[in-house]
């Protein structure tokens, strides 16, 4: 019955938490995820602040719970196309994109990928590594199935030939599924601000200028370099690393005037991890305000300064220039304390971009009939008293798609549970 069924759009940590809380209550949950696997951004991270837990280690049990739970049905590699109806009785059309692999038969052995002749940049690794046209986005993917990227597939049929389980089906067609649900939860997360919008930084032109998410993939043991931090240009270990905060955040030029809430925290975390791993590498963080609020964080920053020797410079750099021979990067900045313009050379620079709404957020909002705020995030019914309700009754939102909030993982999880409570409140009364 619709009253006991919920649709959750977006399989990141907040969507996963909402799914598990509702499923444990006896609700039937459809968890729709656009990419081939649930996990979201948290799956891409190496370690979380300030506890330095291995991100995948703490996420994986929740992902597996989702796939095993009798009340949760995963609809990965799928998108929500149409939503009709109202609270208590929504009719949703979900497009199941063909992955050309039968999820129920695939064992994830990977022989198909070994033989696939096509190599393309891996989105999960932020384009730093490569994957095949038939691929599993990351080793702990849920569901544990390969997917064919038809756009890049040359239809040679080798994967089908090599598959021992007969799971490859290159004739799969897209399928539309109609779902009747009582409530909807949106948890589609965020994208990164595109730093190419700041031409003076040179992102996209300089090899050793990377974003923080790219850094996470480099630090992660399951990433493109097996967890070894090396410079993209020459594979050497960087010895002087700089982090630049607020790239696009708090910036009127781009309308992203808000603070993204988590970047100061994660860059201090990354700095500590780097210093721990490579004691001969110096790390400098360029910041405007060091926003290290949150449980245990001020103490973590104190340790970063005193025990790990991370340098902090209060400045928002103006320009980055590349040495054409060494590919080192010179950062030009105003040292606000000394009152001088300075330039320092680094061999790797990490940009901490603003976290912005996903490119497809507005479209989904239109499909749902929900309002977005001036930044493009899903608008809360009341920012103080109804923070996880959207402007449509019966449709709720959690996680970063609602905007920065406190922004971190516990916050996303609390919001996920809070939307589960809202759904139960609303549907129990219907």
């Amino acid at each position: 019955m619709a009253e006991k069924t919920v649709l959750i759009i977006g399989g990141g940590v907040s969507g996963i938490q909402a799914s598990l809380d509702l499923a444990s209550r006896g609700y039937k949950v459809y968890l729709v995820e656009k990419s081939p696997s649930i996990g979201g951004r948290m799956a891409q991270l190496d370690k979380t602040f300030p506890t330095l837990d291995c991100s995948m280690c703490i996420l994986a049990p929740k992902m597996i719970d989702c796939s095993h739970h009798a009340n949760v049905q995963l609809l990965t590699y799928s998108e929500v196309k149409r939503v009709k109806g109202s609270r208590g009785n929504f009719l949703v059309t979900v497009l199941r994109k063909p992955r050309f692999v039968d999820e129920t038969k695939c064992t994830g052995c990977g022989i198909c990928a070994d033989h696939c002749p096509v190599e393309v940049p891996n989105e999960f690794d932020e384009q730093l590594g490569m994957r095949k046209a038939i691929y599993m986005p990351f080793p702990q993917a849920v569901p544990r199935s390969m997917t064919v990227d038809k756009a890049n597939c040359i239809e040679c049929g080798l994967c089908q030939k090599m598959c021992q389980a007969g799971a490859v089906d290159l004739k799969q067609e897209p399928k539309e599924v109609e779902l009747n649900v009582g409530a909807v939860i949106v948890s589609i997360g965020f994208d990164l601000f595109d730093p190419t919008q700041i031409p003076t930084y040179g992102y996209g032109r300089y090899r050793n200028l990377i974003t923080s998410l790219e850094l996470e993939r480099l630090l992660c043991a399951s990433g493109p370099t097996g967890g070894h931090l090396i410079r993209p240009s020459d594979g050497k270990i960087p010895r002087k690393i700089a982090f630049i905060q607020c790239v696009g955040s708090r910036d009127r030029r781009f309308g992203t005037t808000y603070c993204s809430s988590i970047c100061c925290k994660y860059s201090v975390k990354d700095a500590v991890l780097i210093r721990e791993h490579e004691p001969n590498t110096m790390v400098t963080i360029f910041y405007i305000d060091l926003r290290a609020f949150g449980k245990g964080f001020q103490e973590f920053v104190n340790r970063a300064k005193s025990e790990y020797g991370v340098r902090f410079v209060r400045s928002s750099p103006g320009e980055i220039m590349e040495d054409p021979v060494t590919k080192n990067l010179a950062i030009w900045y105003e040292d606000t304390v000394a009152g001088r313009i300075e330039s320092t050379e680094f061999d790797l620079v990490v940009l901490c971009p603003a976290l912005v709404p996903r490119a497809d957020a507005r479209e989904l909002a239109k499909v749902l009939g929900a309002e977005v705020d001036s930044y493009g995030f899903f608008k809360a019914a009341d920012i103080l008293t109804n923070p996880v309700d959207t402007t449509v009754p019966g449709i709720f939102a959690c996680g970063y798609c609602l905007g920065p909030k406190t922004g971190d993982i516990p916050d996303s999880i609390m919001q996920g549970s809070a939307t589960a409570a809202r759904v139960a409140e609303v549907l129990e009364r219907v």
């Binding site: 506890t51 330095l52 837990d53 721990e276």
Partner: protein, 143 residues
């Protein structure tokens, strides 16, 4: 340089009993926070320090432990209300018993560590290892 000295150096084996709710969690926190300490300790998890039968401690020394460390929740905070008080009573008896058996009572140590005290746990292991090293091997081993 240091290596020859290290080979001859005595490396004690220390057994640590940790209660699940407080001190074992504190030991985990030391790990999550990456506080380093020497490798001489072997941890045995029990649900409560109140579980620790005196014979566990005596057997440990009999089988060659150079030191035994018992950890539990702070007084008043025991997850099971008074388990740690019962352990404290046994501790007094054990100290005396060890003396009678020819083992220095200082080889047995009781400390309270909460789930939030990762740094304290690491410091405790460093300190205990250092002290036992100075005492030398368990006298029963050479008998």
């Amino acid at each position: 340089m240091e290596e020859a000295k290290v080979e001859a150096e005595f490396e004690p084996v220390i057994l640590a009993f940790c209660c699940n709710w407080c001190s074992y969690a504190g030991a985990d926190l030391a790990g999550t926070s990456r506080f380093e300490y020497p490798t001489n300790v072997r941890i045995i998890r029990v649900m409560c320090s109140g579980r620790i039968d005196p014979t566990f401690v005596l057997s440990a020394f009999r089988w060659g432990a150079d030191g035994v460390l018992i950890t539990g929740c702070h007084p008043g905070d025991c997850h099971y209300v008074q388990g740690n008080y019962m352990m404290e009573r046994r501790f007094a008896f054990l100290k005396e018993a060890l003396g009678h058996l020819g083992i220095e009572p200082e080889r047995l140590r009781l400390e309270w560590i909460s789930a939030g005290e990762g740094e304290k746990f690491a410091a405790l292991i460093r300190d205990t290892t250092q002290k036992i090293k100075q005492m030398g091997p368990n006298p029963l081993k050479t008998m």
